[in-house]
């Protein structure tokens, strides 16, 4: 029996990615990374800034996401996000801009711990992207 399932990544403007031959997806959920295989129990969670890795038979794709919601049901993984890009064609300027704007946000005093954590994390992830 095959161990493949479907993934749909949609952003508000369009359907970003739709595949039916993936066997593992790793998503940066807010409480830690989750690896999803076929027949995972239904789950709803939301994302923190990080990298979604999609493993299909032929290739491995990575996407950077900022936030979003994931739902897994009936062997279909839906990712709803408003900010996503493929790591392969990452725009260097955009990445460095995002880093600096996040850092500017961090330097403000009036942010709560959760936000600080998310921003710190975002900077970390973005930096790791820009190094590669």
């Amino acid at each position: 029996m095959s161990n493949l399932f479907n993934i749909d990544i949609v952003n508000p403007e369009q359907s970003f990615l739709s595949k039916d031959n993936v066997f593992e997806v790793v998503i940066p959920a807010v409480e830690g990374e989750i690896g999803i295989l076929k027949d995972h129990i239904p789950i709803i969670s939301f994302l923190k800034p990080g990298i979604i890795r999609v493993f299909s038979e032929s290739e491995e794709q990575s996407f950077y996401v900022e936030d979003g919601i994931v739902e897994f049901k009936d062997n279909t993984l839906s990712v709803l996000t408003s900010s996503i890009f493929d790591l392969k064609n990452a725009d260097k300027n955009f990445v460095s801009e995002s880093i600096s704007s996040a850092e500017a946000e961090l330097s403000k005093d009036n942010i709560d711990d959760q936000k600080r954590f998310l921003l710190n994390h975002k900077v970390e992830v973005l930096k790791s992207i820009s190094i590669n």
Partner: protein
């Protein structure tokens, strides 16, 4: 009776107007296709979003502590209305229809002695509403500069709404926009987004009794999700609106072109007739002149 020269000028002027309306129709048709495509592409997102929220709200048992954006503040005193219109005119009844729908809602609110607040998105709506409802308009947003409709703009509106909600500035929020049915028909819509209307979830109860695993818990997901949903709804409305606007403009301009054609025909007949009359008159004059000799 206008002179021949006047008629000739009139015909040329109508003809050039016809050229303009024809060109506008073509442009609207091209834009319509794109807008329609965009609206279709955007649909999965809002549908999935709705699904997730539906599943979530079902699993919430403790209604009292549920996020206020979902269940409301418990009061219905202050109504916030978001009126989404186009930035440009010459699109038939497009803007007027939304305004009409909104106005009837406003009147209802006012007659019930509730407080009304209006946010207009798009400059045409503001122009039409400011005469009568100036004092109620709290904000006037326009995205004239952005060429395409993007989520970023919708998110801005969404953030304004959330901000106002958190400051307890309103209890109920409704948006007004035109739903795109087809090129000829656009239906003005009134949609309540805060609190979320729950009457929809009777429909697909079947097979939806999945026990989801939530990470973190439902409340936290919901409170994260609901603000996003508002932006999504606004975005959806904007997409529908833009498709409707182009469709409406296309039909309006098509009608205008046809009317101009009819007018040209009529004027041409009139022109020919008066030219003929002038010739006949001259002939009579010549003949009677010759006879008298």
């Amino acid at each position: 009776m206008p002179s021949l020269d006047d008629l000739r000028k009139r015909i040329t002027s109508v003809k050039s107007t016809q050229k303009i309306t024809k060109a506008m129709k073509m442009v609207a048709a091209a834009k319509l296709r794109k807008a329609q495509e965009n609206a279709e592409k955007g649909r999965p997102y809002s549908e999935k979003m709705n699904n997730v929220i539906l599943n979530l709200s079902k699993s919430i048992t403790d209604k009292e502590n549920a996020p206020k954006l979902l269940v409301g503040t418990g009061e219905e005193k202050v109504h916030l209305c978001i009126v989404l219109t186009a930035d440009r005119g010459l699109c038939g009844g497009f803007n007027t229809n939304i305004i009409k729908k909104a106005k009837s809602y406003f009147e209802k609110i006012i007659s019930e002695n509730k407080t009304l607040k209006i946010i207009t998105v798009g400059s045409k709506g503001y122009d039409q509403l400011k005469r009568q409802y100036k004092s109620y308009i709290v904000e006037n947003i326009s995205f004239k500069e952005s060429k395409n409709i993007n989520y970023f703009d919708a998110d801005k509106v969404g953030k304004i709404i959330i901000e106002k909600f958190e400051k307890n500035e309103f209890d109920v929020c409704a948006i007004f926009y035109n739903k795109f049915k087809n090129v000829i028909t656009q239906i003005p819509q009134e949609q309540q987004i805060v609190p979320l209307n729950e009457d929809k979830d009777d429909k697909d109860d079947s097979g939806n009794d999945n026990d989801y695993e939530f990470e973190p818990d439902e409340d936290e997901i919901l409170s994260n999700l609901l603000p996003k949903n508002i932006s999504t709804q606004i975005f959806k409305a904007m997409l529908e609106n833009s498709a409707s606007e182009q469709g409406s403009r296309m039909t309006a301009m098509d009608n205008a072109t046809r009317n101009a054609g009819e007018l040209v025909d009529r004027l041409t007949i009139e022109y020919n007739r008066s030219r003929q009359a002038a010739i006949t008159k001259e002939l009579i004059e010549i003949i009677s002149g010759a006879e008298s000799l």
